[in-house]
């Protein structure tokens, strides 16, 4: 066997492996939380200095437009089709002197609500952890935006597709161990990237060392996310949008709601039938055929 075929075999094997993980992730949520080859990103707001280098690195890597003034420090920016990551100043409602810079992007939920509602499966949760929108497939319905608890996927009115952070899946750590562009760009190591279980440990270690009151966003929110954020205090006090501490848009919930609707529809059909049978006249119809019920 020569080298080339060996390589191909190896790639096939990796593909197979990835497929198995994809199956595990999509098919069994319990397994998905436990696997060890998934990556995670950690943002430590207590370290961030608000330089916004992550923003410009992201824009450079993903070829996004730079809007005027938005990279100026302390300027409030919103996520958009061209802004996949934003850094904003937030103050603690209970202690106004406490201010942080919040690095905010897609949270890469373990069971993403956005992927669950996309009608054409344009969004996939990769086995590595990334939640990626396939922009060649997206039909531009914006349903994912509605479903996302953090309102992350934003519609690009020019390209007519929805776009968001993909955790730099195209710098795939598996192949060349490159970190996401934003993580690479951070000058003070407020951002880190690594295996999910290590990232969780690291986050826990940091808040354990520091004084109490710190909070890790993403351990429980939206059923757990592959991006974690260390906050100095509870997210509510910082005025952040908080997702419930459970899987958002759980399939059982969807089933329940759809089921209720179908029950309603059967009741309606029953009412129609009752209305008809109570008031139907015993005659022949238009076509000269006897009525079905009366014959």
């Amino acid at each position: 066997m020569n080298k080339a075929t060996k390589n191909i075999r190896r790639r096939d094997f990796l593909k197979l492996l990835a497929g198995a993980y994809a199956y595990a992730t999509l098919g069994s949520p319990g397994l998905a939380g436990a696997q060890t080859t998934r990556y995670g990103k950690l943002a430590d707001t207590t370290r961030c200095i608000g330089c916004k280098r992550c923003m410009s690195a992201c824009k450079r890597w993903n070829k996004l437009e730079v809007e005027r003034n938005e990279l100026v420090s302390d300027r409030e920016t919103d996520l958009s089709a061209q802004n996949w990551v934003v850094v904003n100043l937030r103050a603690d409602a209970k202690n106004v002197t406490q201010r942080i810079y919040e690095h905010w992007a897609c949270q890469h939920c373990i069971q993403p609500a956005c992927a669950g509602v996309c009608p054409v499966k344009a969004i996939t949760k990769l086995p590595m952890g990334n939640v990626v929108i396939n922009e060649k497939k997206c039909i531009g319905c914006r349903y994912c935006y509605q479903a996302c608890p953090y309102k992350v996927p934003r519609f690009d009115f020019e390209k007519r597709v929805t776009r968001k952070c993909h955790l730099c899946y195209d710098r795939i750590p598996l192949l060349n161990y490159m970190k996401p562009a934003c993580v690479e760009a951070c000058p003070v190591e407020a951002l880190s990237f690594g295996y999910k279980h290590e990232i969780i440990l690291e986050a826990k270690k940091r808040i354990y060392k520091e004084k109490s009151g710190r909070y890790i966003l993403g351990l429980k929110e939206a059923g757990g996310t592959d991006m974690l954020t260390i906050l100095p205090t509870k997210p509510k006090d910082l005025g952040l949008v908080v997702a419930p501490q459970k899987v958002v848009n759980h399939n059982m919930d969807k089933l329940r709601i759809t089921g209720a609707g179908f029950m309603g529809a059967s009741v309606l059909a029953g009412l129609m039938y009752t209305y008809a049978s109570l008031t139907r006249k015993n005659t022949k119809d238009d076509y000269g055929n006897p009525d079905k019920e009366t014959s």
Partner: protein, 422 residues
């Protein structure tokens, strides 16, 4: 036979007589539809953003217009099914007009949502190639596609006897055109007698009703599934949508058919008049049920912490005028006594007015339902205005104009009237 021939001659005579006003109507409607085309063209040249009054309210008028139209279509399907599916003879009168309206409302609804999508062409391809069975939107698109097919066949079956009759009576090109529309050749085949069998119509009607109700259900579920939008989330809307489809169907059918007779200054057939008053009563009943549902929604919403804020938008906030004046007063409460009074007095105009009021209320309701839900959780301090953008209005006006134009043409050239055929 002689009277029928005379009637037919009358219709033809009428047509010639009214040509002028007909052309005025058609040209106005064509102009209005032209505006929609202009708006679409601009969106292609510049950006889809011209259809959004705020990038944060990402579903706005086109979605609500879509919801209005497809819900009306389901409603019309429900009302007409009473006739040829559930076997209520008197409802068979409205079969053709109702089913034709159901067909064109769903088609223009689809046009409305098609223009809203970023890539409608991909929607058709990937809906087939990579379906997501967990997405209500996938189910909705798929089921409505079936529904359109069934409802189109249903109309064709309903209209066929008269199309054949017209082709028999007409001369020259008209004879050929009606003959083709009725597929007269089929009569010579084995399928001919089957097509005339009422059972087939009943079967297709039932298929349309089932696909329509299921599609409608997934439309409600599409909103109901969204946990991140407290106003939509839950099983209330899938169920309420069924009810509101029913009253919307009744109101639309009453309004359109009565207005058609009145504008053409034609006499409404005796048996249809009595059905109108029966339908008016049913409509009043459905509206009362709707009122109870709304009261339940608002009342219980106030006890659900995450729903309080969105609900207050209706009760006191920027949507309060639309809610209290349009949804509650004009759309639900006032029409009930008007309908009951009109039924008692045998006043057709009263029924017409009440039905139009219901439609206006429902239209506003759909808009509020879609837009208000998107305020929470992201738009923290509210937007200065929740009114649609100019281009949206142009587009929606154009879609409704084109819908109306299709109806006027259908009314002129296709069998829609409330008459029995033997």
């Amino acid at each position: 036979m002689a009277t029928r021939t005379k009637k037919h001659l009358d219709i033809i005579f009428n047509r010639i007589e009214r040509t002028q006003s007909f052309y005025v109507w058609v040209s106005i409607l064509v102009a209005v539809s032209g505006l929609a085309l202009y708006a679409i063209l601009m969106s292609l040249i510049y950006s889809l953003e011209i259809f959004e009054f705020s990038a944060q309210v990402i579903w706005a008028t086109m979605v609500s217009n879509y919801v209005f139209l497809v819900v009306s279509s389901t409603g019309l399907c429900i009302v007409t099914s009473l006739g040829h599916v559930f076997g209520m003879q008197r409802y068979e009168l409205i079969g053709r007009r109702g089913v034709f309206l159901a067909l064109i409302t769903i088609i223009f609804g689809m046009i409305s949502i098609g223009a809203h999508l970023g890539h409608p062409e991909r929607a058709m391809i990937f809906n087939l190639l990579t379906p997501n069975f967990l997405s209500a939107m996938w189910w909705m698109g798929t089921l409505y596609s079936f529904y359109i097919v069934f409802i189109a066949i249903e109309y064709w079956l309903l209209a066929r006897p008269e199309l054949i009759e017209r082709s028999d009576q007409a001369q020259g090109p008209e004879k050929i055109i009606y003959g083709i529309m009725a597929f007269r050749q089929l009569d010579r085949l084995k399928i001919g007698p089957v097509l005339k069998n009422h059972k087939l119509l009943q079967f297709i009607g039932a298929a349309a009703l089932i696909s329509g109700l299921s599609a409608h259900n997934t439309l409600g579920a599409l909103f109901g599934h969204i946990e991140a939008r407290p106003l939509w989330h839950g099983s209330y809307y899938p169920i309420y949508f069924l009810l509101s489809a029913s009253f919307c169907g009744y109101a639309l059918l009453l309004a359109v058919s009565i207005a058609s007779y009145k504008i053409k200054k034609e006499e409404i057939p005796e048996d249809y008049q009595s059905l109108i008053f029966e339908m008016a009563q049913v409509l009043a009943l459905l509206l009362s049920a709707g009122l109870l549902f709304t009261a339940y929604k608002m009342g219980f919403g106030l006890f659900t912490p995450e729903k309080v804020k969105p609900i207050m938008l209706f009760l006191k906030g920027p949507f309060s005028q639309a809610f209290w004046l349009f949804e509650i007063a004009i759309g639900t409460v006032l029409p009930i006594p008007i309908l009951l009074w009109a039924t008692k007095q045998k006043n057709i105009i009263g029924v017409l007015i009440a039905s139009v009021m219901v439609l206006v209320g429902v239209y506003v309701m759909r808009y509020d339902f879609v837009v208000a839900a998107q305020v929470y959780p992201v738009i923290k301090n509210g937007l200065p205005s929740y009114l649609p953008a100019f281009m949206e209005v142009l587009f929606i006006g154009g879609v409704l104009g084109a819908l109306f134009l299709t109806y006027v043409l259908g009314e002129k050239f296709l069998p829609l009237k409330e008459e029995h055929h033997h």
